[in-house]
């Protein structure tokens, strides 16, 4: 009798627990839907340069769903665009804390660290972003710039090449690789990359200047 009663109690406890879980996931889903739409709205506003309004929407998303890593990452981007670098870095940190696999956040954190002059830390973040997602061509380019500045020319060339391989239409990476090669005295190769950069972006002034300089040095 006692055993039977105990089984009934366990049965009811099980029903109660799963019912409670069900109610909480439904509530969670509703909050998620709301916060996703605020986040999306923020992205649209960021896209048209309305960063203040975007920040407001990201913050509303986060007030509903405080563990929303993507919204922290996007908020960090909008703050960075406004020049609020410290706040931006704090948001990237939070995004990474909430989702340690968010490669974009590591990449963005690297950018803000670069802007803050913390190059070694930025290199670390870029490398980690690429270990999570090797297809982030912009991160390859950003990392290559820092490596080149630090004297690791081979590493820089390798990452520029990877950026170009991933995105052949990446004019900046062509120009940067050209500059690095020119710095090595490899003007012929550099000219090819400058020409390609101009072909991709016909109004690319830096690449045009670099091309002229490389041609004059080749003579």
């Amino acid at each position: 009798m006692i055993i039977k009663d105990l089984r009934i109690i366990i049965g009811f406890l099980f029903v109660g627990m799963v019912t409670w879980w069900g109610i909480s996931v439904v509530q969670d889903e509703r909050q998620h839907t709301q916060s996703v739409s605020f986040n999306e709205r923020g992205n649209i506003l960021s896209g048209v340069g309305r960063y203040d309004a975007a920040i407001e929407n990201y913050q509303r998303a986060l007030s509903i769903k405080p563990d929303y890593a993507d919204a922290y990452n996007n908020l960090g981007n909008a703050l960075r665009q406004k020049g609020q670098l410290q706040e931006s870095a704090a948001n990237y940190k939070e995004a990474i804390h909430l989702n340690p696999n968010l490669a974009d956040a590591y990449g963005n954190f690297g950018i803000v660290l670069t802007e803050l002059g913390k190059f070694n830390k930025a290199i670390e973040r870029y490398r980690f972003a690429l270990s999570l997602n090797p297809e982030l061509y912009q991160v390859h380019n950003s990392l290559a710039i820092l490596l080149s500045q630090g004297g690791d020319i081979d590493g820089a060339i390798r990452h520029y090449q990877q950026a170009i391989e991933l995105y052949p239409g990446f004019g900046k990476a062509h120009n940067n690789l050209g500059s690095t090669l020119a710095g090595q005295g490899k003007f012929k190769e550099a000219i090819n990359y400058f020409e390609k950069a101009i072909q991709i972006e016909p109004g690319y002034v830096d690449a045009k200047n670099n091309l002229e300089l490389a041609r004059s040095l080749l003579k």
Binding site: R7, I8, V15
Partner: protein
């Protein structure tokens, strides 16, 4: 006593007829919902099959070929319109509900069987499982459940084991996820063999296994003989195994939680009864063997929705039969302790009515008021499913039968409706965008094939849903290539501006050239310069 049973039977029959009639009427009313992208893929591949082109020979898809054969049958018997395809689903759905009724009646009792069948019909109608659309899961269920029913019934000679194997093996050919139905069949046979509750012989088990392997074996032979084994293997095994390993456990749990929460929100009454049914193992004393069936069925069918941890809404259709049988058990266990038959029957009838009525009440706008277009928008957002019909119609009118089309996006329904061949084997962009070892090669292959085949029309789908991306644009590498390629060889002939809360704007020919879409979500239709 006899009268009471008769009354119970009358009430039960009345409720079943009422709710079945409602579900069938709603399916009829909304049968003209446009084909969504999975349906478009199945229909296009089936159309190709009917023209003698074997799946995978010219098109890449990770799904097993059974669903294309099912669709080929539907297109032949019912016609090629979205309504025809969705009306055929009514027959499949009712037939599956009937099999579930037989399972429920055999396992539990008549009431539980009827409730399981009707609740199956109600749950599978829900927009939260995209139940109005003819996804492959609907077609897995009929042979899979029939195969399991054959295992369960005592009567019949050894041939029934062979037939059961064939049916379960056929369900696997429709969707790989059905392997868990097959494993359940094997598990249940093993259980009965070991517990000696049925005089099973090794011969029966062998027949079951042989029957199960035959459909797959025949498929392998077919592809070996046709010389397309490499494409079949790459699509359904090599790429598919990459596909199922892209999502982490944590992301998987989030996917499950959000998809399940939406189903639960609108169908909680039936699902709560399923929970009661699951918990009733603790207090219902007799017929323990049936709970082994129900509990293991519940677990195996849950596993059927887990591959890849995507938990897309329509995957849940595979879990629903187990939930409905448990809900049937739940109704019975709720009245289990009641001593008065009169109160028992009354309670049972009220519980069944309320449990089935709540989903209709909560989804009444969708079921009774919204137009098929509105329902599609509500479920699929700004995806261009309704718009695809007009785009396809324009392409059909402005191209000849042997000319090809390329869609940069995952909108295979455009190929199907226009009845034009794809210029590339990649009719779905998702595999090209995901992070796996084959993605870059697939993107290069797409570019190469389009440049070689020179399609008469190129359609660009500028919307995230077509590219498995959060952002509504096509990826930079393909974008750059397409811009250069289209600029030199094509001219714009159509723009479809897809706007939220408004009708889409269609601009064709001269009007299209000067039109800038207002929405981020739009289709661009390019025609090859003569």
């Amino acid at each position: 006593m006899q009268n009471r049973h008769n009354y119970q039977g009358v009430y039960l029959t009345g409720l079943a007829v009422l709710f079945f009639a409602l579900t069938v009427w709603i399916r009829f009313r909304l049968s003209s919902v446009p084909l969504e992208r999975d349906e478009g893929e199945y229909a296009y591949m089936a159309q190709q099959l009917l023209q003698g082109i074997l799946p995978y020979s010219e098109t890449q898809s990770m799904k097993f070929p059974g669903i294309y054969f099912v669709y080929a049958g539907i297109l032949t018997l019912f016609g090629e319109s979205p309504s025809a395809i969705h009306l055929s689903l009514i027959l499949f759905n009712l037939a599956t509900a009937f099999i579930l009724f037989l399972l429920g009646r055999h396992l539990l009792n008549l009431t539980a069987g009827v409730f399981a069948a009707v609740s199956f019909s109600v749950l599978t109608l829900s927009p939260e499982v995209q139940g109005l659309w003819a996804n492959s899961e609907h077609f897995v269920l009929l042979p899979a459940l029939a195969g399991i029913l054959l295992l369960l019934v005592m009567k019949g000679g050894p041939a029934k084991f062979f037939l059961s194997g064939i049916l379960l093996g056929s369900s696997l050919l429709i969707k790989q996820h059905a392997v868990f139905y097959c494993l359940f069949g094997a598990f249940y046979m093993g259980f009965r063999f070991l517990s000696r509750t049925q005089s099973l012989k090794i011969r029966d088990i062998t027949l079951f296994a042989v029957g199960g392997i035959i459909p797959l074996l025949l498929t392998l032979i077919l592809y070996s003989l046709s010389g397309h084994m490499a494409q079949f293997w790459f699509s359904t095994v090599q790429y598919a195994s990459e596909y199922v390993s892209l999502t982490s456990f944590r992301e998987g749990y989030e996917n499950f939680k959000y998809s399940f929460a939406r189903i639960l929100e609108y169908n909680f009454s039936i699902l709560w009864l399923a929970l009661i049914g699951l918990a009733s193992i603790a207090w219902v004393k007799d017929k323990k063997e049936r709970f082994v069936f129900l509990f293991s069925f519940f677990i195996f069918l849950f596993l059927a929705i887990t591959p890849g941890f995507y938990f897309r809404p329509h995957y849940f259709l595979l879990w629903i039969p187990a939930l409905c049988l448990l809900a049937g058990a739940g109704v019975e266990s709720l009245v289990y302790g009641l001593s008065s038959p009169k109160i028992k029957n009354f309670t049972r009838t009220v519980v069944i009515f309320v449990a089935l009525a709540i989903p209709f009440l909560l989804q009444k706008d969708i079921f009774f008021n919204m137009t098929p277009f509105q329902v599609t928008r509500m479920v699929y957002g700004l995806n261009p499913f309704a718009e695809s019909l007009q785009v396809a119609s324009y392409i059909r009118e402005h191209s000849s039968e042997n000319q090809k089309v390329a869609v940069l996006g995952s909108e295979a329904q455009i190929y199907f409706f226009s009845n034009r061949k794809s210029a590339t084997r990649h009719i779905y962009m998702y595999p090209l965008m995901e992070r796996h070892v084959y993605a870059r090669g697939m993107r290069s292959e797409l570019v190469r094939e389009i440049e070689t085949n020179q399609p008469e029309f190129v359609v660009i789908a500028n919307l995230g849903g077509s590219w498995v991306s959060q952002r509504p644009y096509i990826p930079p590498t393909l974008n750059d290539w397409s811009q250069v390629y289209l600029k030199h060889n094509y001219e714009i002939r159509g723009v479809v501006d897809i706007r939220a809360g408004q009708k889409s704007v269609f601009k064709w020919d001269e009007e299209a050239k000067s039109y800038n879409p207002k929405s981020r979500y739009h289709l661009l239709i390019y025609k090859r310069r003569s």
